[in-house]
């Protein structure tokens, strides 16, 4: 069995599972945020109206809550939703609620690794489609709808059909001007928006061993854009060190067997990956950055669970240091812990000196909800994960998805720019 099959087998008390089997698995962790939380509350209300008594959750210690989509509160309704969410966590005794303005908080998928909320070998579900991100910690991580999350909150279990696994092997290290983002855009371009529908995307090979945990998180984050059920990377010493630095040392790792089966194996040579950009209006619509050098931009956005981890900010700072941006540029670290490290390392000064505005962690602009949305016909280069029509604002705005290196280089020139071409 491969790692995904072994995790699902263990969580369902079976010695062996195969793709296509339906298994009821015990869930180790579940996450809700300020969109899915109120959605779950609505489902609970409907059940109560039908006469079901809901007095306690299956295990409040395994539930955690993020405030990320509409913080800082975008308007009166979102402010009220945060109050509802807070009442919910109090009512059911959920202790891990990362509150805006009270120390560590941030985007849910970033907290999952920054706070080691999920550990290798676990089954983790969340009320958000990018829950896949956390699979880079060697866990089975998948997003669910509100009704399913409500079910898990009450029962601690959920059924899954064991997915087929596609293995993506990266041979050799990525060059310095290339980031994990370029690789995953290339992969999505190759297999398409639904190329991994209901499948697991596993990443392995020497290039992945060489890659940082944060880079791996970029890969698994965007498996959602290929329709994947989950994304995963096998645990190794790099992951153990990463988790130990965040206080987590006790967990039960799972590794694939030597004869693990995959539906298909894709091979990529690290040295052949180019700075890659996804054009509007789909992540599969890729091009090499150099072919888009005539595209004039209005904005550069460096934020989100995909593109505002510490390494993403370091990469952007490397480009922005000593230069000045030509277009409106925003950097929003994905969590307060990352914000603090960026401050300690002097990155924030580099950003401010370059003319960039630095903002608080939020999903706001990435999903076009608030905190810097796009006007009609505006064009943005962004380190985020989606560029469907209107994703970052007006339905006739445009988003190009890119790595932090490409986004920062483009911020300097005002046009889509390969970082190697920056003078």
């Amino acid at each position: 069995m491969n790692i995904t099959e072994k995790i699902l087998a263990r969580a369902s008390g079976k010695s062996k599972v195969s793709p296509g089997d339906v298994v009821f698995v015990n869930v180790d962790k579940v996450m809700i945020h300020d969109v899915s939380g109120p959605g779950v509350i609505a489902v609970f209300e409907k059940l109560k109206k039908k006469g079901m008594k809901i007095e306690k959750l299956w295990n409040p210690d395994k539930v955690w809550v993020a405030e990320d989509h509409f913080v800082p509160a975008a308007d009166k309704i979102s402010a009220q939703n945060i109050v509802s969410l807070t009442n919910f966590t109090k009512q059911f005794g959920i202790k891990k609620h990362f509150k805006y303005g009270m120390g560590q908080y941030g985007i849910c998928h970033t907290l999952s690794h920054e706070e080691a909320m999920v550990l290798p070998g676990e089954v983790y579900v969340g009320g958000d489609s990018h829950t896949n991100t956390t699979g880079a910690l060697g866990a089975f991580a998948a997003g669910l709808g509100h009704t399913d999350v409500a079910y898990v909150l009450l029962n601690g279990k959920i059924w899954f059909k064991v997915p087929e696994t596609l293995l993506f092997k990266l041979n050799g290290k990525l060059p310095d001007h290339i980031m994990a983002k370029d690789l995953i855009l290339k992969i999505i371009g190759d297999i398409g928006n639904d190329g991994a529908a209901y499948k697991t995307m596993e990443f392995g090979g020497t290039g992945i061993s060489e890659m940082s945990v944060e880079g791996r998180l970029t890969l698994t984050n965007m498996t959602t854009e290929a329709g994947a059920k989950s994304g995963i990377v096998e645990p190794d010493q790099k992951l153990r060190d990463y988790l130990a630095a965040r206080g987590a040392t006790k967990y039960d790792e799972v590794h694939g067997d030597a004869d693990a089966q995959y539906e298909k194996i894709y091979e990529y040579e690290g040295s052949e990956i180019e700075p890659t950009v996804a054009k509007p209006f789909s992540p599969e619509n890729i091009s090499v950055a150099r072919d888009l050098s005539s595209i004039e931009l209005d904005k550069a956005y460096i934020g989100s669970c995909t593109g505002a981890k510490l390494e993403d900010l370091q990469a952007a700072a490397k480009i922005l240091k000593g230069r000045t941006v030509k277009i409106r540029t925003e950097v929003l670290p994905a969590a307060i812990s990352i914000f603090r490290k960026a401050m300690d390392e002097g990155l924030l000064k580099i950003f401010l000196d370059a003319g960039v505005v630095v903002g608080p962690p939020t999903c706001g602009a990435c999903c076009g909800a608030h905190m810097g949305v796009l006007a009609k016909d505006e064009i943005c280069i962004s380190t985020t994960n989606r560029n469907f029509p209107g994703r970052m604002g007006h339905v006739e705005s445009q988003t190009y998805l890119a790595s932090p290196l490409v986004a920062a280089a483009s911020a300097i020139t005002g046009k889509i720019t390969d970082p190697r071409d920056l003078k």
Binding site: S78, N81, D128, G145, T147, Y151, N193, G227, C367, F388
Partner: protein, 190 residues
Amino acid sequence: MKPFQKIKSIATPLDKVNVDTDQIVPKQFLKLIQRTGFGQFLFYDWRFEREGTPIKNFILNDPKYANSKILLARDNFGCGSSREHAVWALDDYGFKVLVSTSFADIFYNNCFKNGILPIQVSVDVLQKLFSTKSEIEVDLEEQTIKADNISVSFHIEPHWKKILLEGLDDIALTLQHEAEIVKYERSHKI
């Protein structure tokens, strides 16, 4: 949840690929916490001008499709955010059957929780459905789609069929039936 009945209706042909859940229910409506009444926000940014005037050439605003219960769309319908509001809006608007060549996973699962039948068909079948002038009849019991120019069967996982036909979408009911679902699924392996 009401048991799923045979549906006969004119189909609304939405000729778009990669319709993501943010098109189905734009983000500005996610803040609303009630579970009902989302139909008015369905495809909002495609359906209405800023002032709320209907955009004439958008298919849902064509009076011909006013009572349509079947929505046809191209590849990868329901991709993007996992927001269940998308399904709530389709259901509230009146769509009970969705037909596409592929659906995004979380969206697909959310459909069954809310009594909506998503049907995956081949490109050829979808094309025929797009070009039919007649009503389309969807029979879940028989797993068939019929129109004047086509009659085909479709695939659906046995447990999803059971849940829809018996109206078992409720969490409480699903709980009671957990053991049965597993048993049923095991005996109906495809």
